[in-house]
């Protein structure tokens, strides 16, 4: 199939940036979206045009590196799918596709489709952990955890930190990302000792990074490739309230 692409090109963080038009020829429907971009890039190199820079790594939907807005939707049209797992069979011959980077003040563009998501790391550094040093942990079965709680923790822990929640939110809110980590630890006994400080510190850092607030549109849940539920945002709000009123 043949496609027309409009791709965001931006030389570096200081460049203003613009959409450029490219033709993608002879695309096989078994290709992944990123393989389609590989083919386009190979063609650009042959023409003497600088290839399009985009972030990607594992190409199996788990590392959270790939990050494209496709026709205005984070990770494209398929539910529960990262861009690297999106295949061209979901497009038709003659389609026009708009490809942009994540858009959020806290995620500045570095080049073309590549953005800086280190704000997420700084939120984790503020409190996204259980303070335990290597060595001296009790036997793993010394602390039984109800299957239901372990499953809830795993549902939350499935977050891959890609930032689609932020990119798809009108307010560029990081609530779903932060809530997933807060909820994982709040569901498990290991996380209880630091429960209050954790949610307060992570939320404070989230605010410092310039992410917006949640106004309950649930775009984040719809865009999340791992289907993290917005119920965790409610859980985080409860945790936060409890932490602040019982300080």
């Amino acid at each position: 199939m043949n496609l027309t692409l409009y791709v965001w090109r931006q030389k570096n963080a200081d460049d203003k940036g613009r959409m450029e038009k490219y033709e993608a020829r002879d695309i096989n429907h078994h290709m992944s979206f990123l393989e389609m971009l590989d083919v386009v890039n190979e063609g650009l190199i042959q023409q003497g045009t600088e290839p399009i820079a985009f972030d990607h790594d594992c190409r199996e939907g788990i590392c959270g590196t790939c990050s494209l807005m496709i026709n205005g939707r984070a990770h494209g049209p398929e539910m529960a799918t990262t861009v690297c797992q999106l295949h061209m069979r979901h497009f038709k011959d003659g389609d026009t596709i708009y490809i942009e980077p994540w858009r959020a003040r806290a995620f500045p563009v570095l080049k073309d489709l590549v953005v800086d998501r280190s704000a997420f790391d700084r939120i984790m550094q503020a409190g996204g952990f259980v303070s335990i040093n290597a060595g001296g942990a009790p036997d793993a079965n010394a602390l039984p955890i109800a299957k239901k709680d372990a499953d809830t923790a795993m549902d939350a822990a499935a977050c891959i930190g890609c930032g689609a929640c932020v990119a798809s939110c009108k307010n560029a809110s990081a609530m779903l990302f932060v809530a997933a980590k807060v909820s994982q630890f709040a569901s498990l006994p290991q996380g209880h000792a630091e429960r209050k400080q954790r949610v307060e510190k992570m939320v404070a850092q989230m605010d410092r990074e310039g992410f917006g607030n949640c106004t309950n549109y649930y775009e984040c849940e719809a865009a999340c490739p791992k289907e993290i539920s917005v119920k965790f945002i409610a859980m985080m709000n409860r945790e936060y309230l409890m932490a602040t009123v019982t300080r």
Partner: protein
Amino acid sequence: MKLDAKVPSGPLADKWDKHRFEMKLVNPANKRKFSAIVVGSGLAGAAGAASLAELGYNVSCFCYQDSPRRAHSIAAQGGINASKNYQNDGDSTWRLFYDTVKGGDFRSREANVYRLAQVANNIIDQCVAQGVPFAREYGGLLANRSFGGAQVSRTFYARGQTGQQLLLGAYSSLSRQIGQGQVKMYPRTEMLDLVVVDGRARGIVVRDMVTGKISSHAADAVVLATGGYGNVFYLATYAKGCNGTAAYRSYKKGAAFANPCFTQIHPTCIPVSGEYQSKLTLMSESLRNDGRIWVPKNRDDNRAAGDIPENERDYYLERKYPSFGNLAPRDISSRSAKEVVDDGRGVGETGVGVYLDFADAIKRLGKDVIEERYGNLFQMYERITGEDPYTVPMRIYPASHYTMGGLWVDYNLESTIPGLFVAGEANFSDHGANRLGASALMQGLADGYFVVPYTLGDHFVRAGVSDVTTDHPEFKKVEQEVQERMKKLLSINGKRSPDTFHRALGKIMWEYCGMGRNEAGLKKALQEIPALREEFWQDLKVMGTNEELNQQLELAGRVADFLEIGEVMCYDALTRAESCGAHFREEFQTEEGEALRNDKDFCYVSAWEYQGDGKEPALHKEPLVFENVELSTRSYK
């Protein structure tokens, strides 16, 4: 070059305890005087950096990804082994040790493997304490599953995302240390060379992948946790960015490269669909617990899987290995798949694939149970192939997945360059000629949490605080060399992109140094690789400049090194005139087509020493002495 494994004396079970007692300790108040560089932030790197920082050392950690959370350990699906014996099925440290040595076809170092089996239980405890959400039974205790190469259920798992959860656990510990200022993290930074002064590793030279700035970093020790070199095959289950540069540059500075030809081909990956393919995706080996592998009995049988009656199917693993069946080890399963495909009985459009069928398991257990066990894997399969594995069998085929070979290390995980330590997949030490499933996560975390933190301390005391800073002329010299290398890659101005060379190399490697190898093929590869390399340096095209985010330049540098790594692999495969584990030399097989090991001549670790560009490296041998297990023919029948 002298290879001293420094294995402690005494009974196997007491070696690590004895060694820990004998190693020198750094007084808590003195720890802040020492610094370590950790390259890589996967399981071994993140666990090592966090644990060293927890002890009070100053740590700098580098990764090429935009965040340490994205290292490729994250993609491991199935699980992590430990001999907790929670299932009461007869597991023990000794059994885990024995299974690992046997699985590795008796080409690993006993003492290292035993230590791995010993600390495995601590890893599970540590991860649970970090809040890793392992699968649990209704009673609240941890669940286990079985895995290839073992007859006990010793694998702990977190749905099909065990690697992700373990890595996020290590990342959380690392994040805590970064937040406290004990670790300085450098994401999007690639190590391009090692700096050795007076025979000791003193630091590294790196490139900032956003600005292109080349800079130096000095420390009292350098830990490489940079993963394997399996992307030499181009099509592999590795992440696109995984590369062998850090390890290979260190090899060129004097670190021996051990068993380079021991590369694992994983049996259950989604087959190639076309020329444009950029990577292969693994389907967890845990699927073999419930899936049955088969091909049609007759050649060129083009019927749909469902139309082929039971008596015209060949469940070849169950037929050939009745006691392990579909759970036969990886090397054996991979080779058997190649055999039936070579025999013209492969399935799918390309004929290069075999079926992994869940129909019986769904009939026996119900779709719900299968969905709970493997739901995310089935979903992933469907997304990639457009086929529903609940109704038609999966198609699978082997792909490059892991490298057992790596930089040579002694018992302390120190390479042949003093002060350069190597952890995780980047070293060679624990898996011999074949790694068992769920053992990579175990080894990465064992090295990171429980080995390197001790052995680095001992090194610090023995070597003392390094007085070499980045002002030393050697740092300036290496920086200059790296600058010039970048300039050279950018100035060739030929016609071909780095990717086309990488694909061409991958084809050579897969053909001649893949699942089956022989003398004539390897000799051919040793002619084709240098020719391709020459073409690379004459016809490469890299656009843009060094002083910007330049993904083509990054790739070109890595491909340049792969073009040399492939050659070392072929030398090793050619020299090792026996079949063992994943290394199958076609000339050496039994009448039934099984690997024919030669313990008399090849019971050693091959360690290759760099001799200069274009020159054949020198082979050194570390004899493998088995005091505790009897060398036997591996049988899974």
